[in-house]
Amino acid sequence: MRHDVFIAGYGGQGVLLAGNLLSYAAIYEGNNVSFFPAYGVEKRGGAAMCTIVFADGDTGSPVVGSPTVSLLLNPLSFEKYAAKVKRGGVCIVNSSLVDITGVELPGIEIIPIPMNQLALEIGDVRMVNMVACGAYSEMSGALAISSLEAALKKALPERNHRLIPANITAIEAGARAARAKKA
């Protein structure tokens, strides 16, 4: 199986860390992984984005035109990238910042998750990226929550390992919110 996920937001939302976490989790599950941090003119506007492809076989192109799943954490990335999601794919949106009322994208399932709010409830808005990863795990079924948790040790620098329990709480909150949407 080959999976791809695109993550975008603004600098400071931990987009690259989220990408690294999903990558380590995919490696943990025995996959090959490509993590491609996109940069270019967009980088200067403070935008951050990355594409992760993982597969038990060949990862193929690190560049993906229409991702199967996109995690869009701010209004700008929603505007720019929501419509690029593959037909039949899923667009997980940070509904704390993005107003999706009335928005319809034919063939794309939009899953609003109030990521900032959930992160704040855990005590740190910087956990939005972890909430997003938890929601991804639940929606895609591609990576187990336990793999994400195991991967934290690799994705976080040593000095931040004391934050692992809080990160786990955030991942689980994201997964729970997504599960409620699925039901």
Partner: protein, 367 residues
């Protein structure tokens, strides 16, 4: 991580180059900062001293390549790395190294140009790399990785081939391959039997001949002889060291061909075409010099339509055209480098589908 399945590490392409250099026994690194390759000197400034090696940030790329010349002449494994503007400055030194038959590894993480250009991925330095780049008429070995694993493996190979043939070797990648992270296995250095560097300058000592490393050749016929000797050596290199990858070419009626980053994007596009019922394959040269001409020639005996894809207005396509049979058609699709010009697999699929549908019908065999 106590991973249950693999012993894979997750690193950037540029870091893989630096790790491979250490594993290959590189003793000296000389470089000058330039994006998008600075991870290489940054990694080696930290790690090379721990192994007793020398890391030196030169005052310029001209300085760096000449330091490489000196270290190689002294018989140790050495490396430099840069990108477009810096590689241009190194050309003088590379020419001197080629003229002095010196090994040495040069890593080029291509960025868009000409001039200052920008830092986005490019393949427009294909000609500069494969045609020698400097003055005098020479070639260097050019290896084109398309994954982080190959950044690692081909960097080690570059050291071996360079020592074996006494030709400078270049690892030619771009900012996509340099900046992306992948899971790789940090293989141990392969066992290769290499000749002694009897030519190296180590101090004359007693009872042995003086060693001289030079490119000045003034004797009657001396330079002509040198050129023919190198010509034969390039031929030997072509006979023995061509490397390429084929994917689904057996029954292909259209073969896509690309190197480095675009070959990765192309491969997914080829898979998409197969899923849509089209008989499409991929041919990827791994060595750009030597260019795997015989492999192209063989493919063109059974497939008459090629599509070359590059991040330029067309450079490698010339070599493809020179390699295939006369009755094979070589089409081209290019996205010159720059922000926003990296093609997606979907875009390449469209290009493939459109060419595939328009291909001349294969003559029906009627009885």
């Amino acid at each position: 991580m106590n991973s249950p399945v693999t012993e894979k590490i997750f690193v950037k392409g540029n870091e893989a180059v630096a790790m491979a250099a250490l594993e290959a026994g590189c003793r000296c690194y000389f470089g000058y900062p330039i994006t998008p390759q600075s991870d290489i000197p940054e990694y080696l400034s930290r790690e090379l001293p721990k192994t007793g090696g020398e890391f030196l940030q030169a005052e310029s790329e001209i300085g760096a390549i000449n330091m490489l010349l000196g270290a190689s002449a002294a018989g140790v494994r050495a490396m430099t790395s840069s990108s477009g503007p810096g590689i241009s400055l190194k050309q003088e030194g590379i020419s001197y190294m080629a003229g002095s038959e010196l090994p040495g590894v040069i890593v080029d993480i291509m960025r868009q140009g000409p001039g200052l250009g920008g830092i986005d991925a490019s393949q427009a330095d294909y000609f500069q790399a494969t045609r020698g780049g400097g003055h005098g008429g020479y070639r260097i070995i050019v290896l084109a990785p398309n994954s982080v694993q190959e950044m690692y493996d081909l960097t080690m190979l570059a050291f071996d081939l360079s020592d074996l043939y006494r030709i400078p070797a270049m690892v030619l990648a771009d900012s996509v391959i340099g900046q992306m992270k992948e899971s790789i296995v940090a293989n141990a250095r392969p066992e290769v039997v290499l000749p002694e560097k009897g030519w190296a300058v180590r101090g004359r000592g007693e009872g042995t001949e003086q060693n001289v490393v030079k490119s000045l050749k003034l004797g009657d016929g001396e330079m002509e002889k040198f050129h023919w000797m190198m010509h034969d050596r390039y031929q030997l290199l072509a006979d023995k060291e061509n490397r390429w990858e084929e994917y689904q070419t057996d029954d292909a009626e259209l073969i896509v061909t690309a190197f480095g980053s675009t070959s990765r994007i192309s491969k997914t596009a080829v898979t998409m075409a197969r899923e849509a019922g089209m008989k499409v394959g991929l041919m990827r040269p791994v060595t750009l010099f030597p260019f795997p001409k015989p492999a192209y020639a063989a493919l063109s005996e059974r497939c008459k339509l090629f599509l070359t894809i590059e991040l330029s207005t067309g450079q490698m396509v010339d070599d493809v055209r020179l390699s295939v049979a006369r009755d094979a058609e070589v089409a081209f699709y290019g996205r010159p480098p720059g922000a926003g010009s990296l093609p997606t697999p979907e875009e390449l699929f469209e290009q493939i589908a459109h060419r595939y549908r328009a291909r001349p019908a294969v003559a029906e065999v009627t009885l």
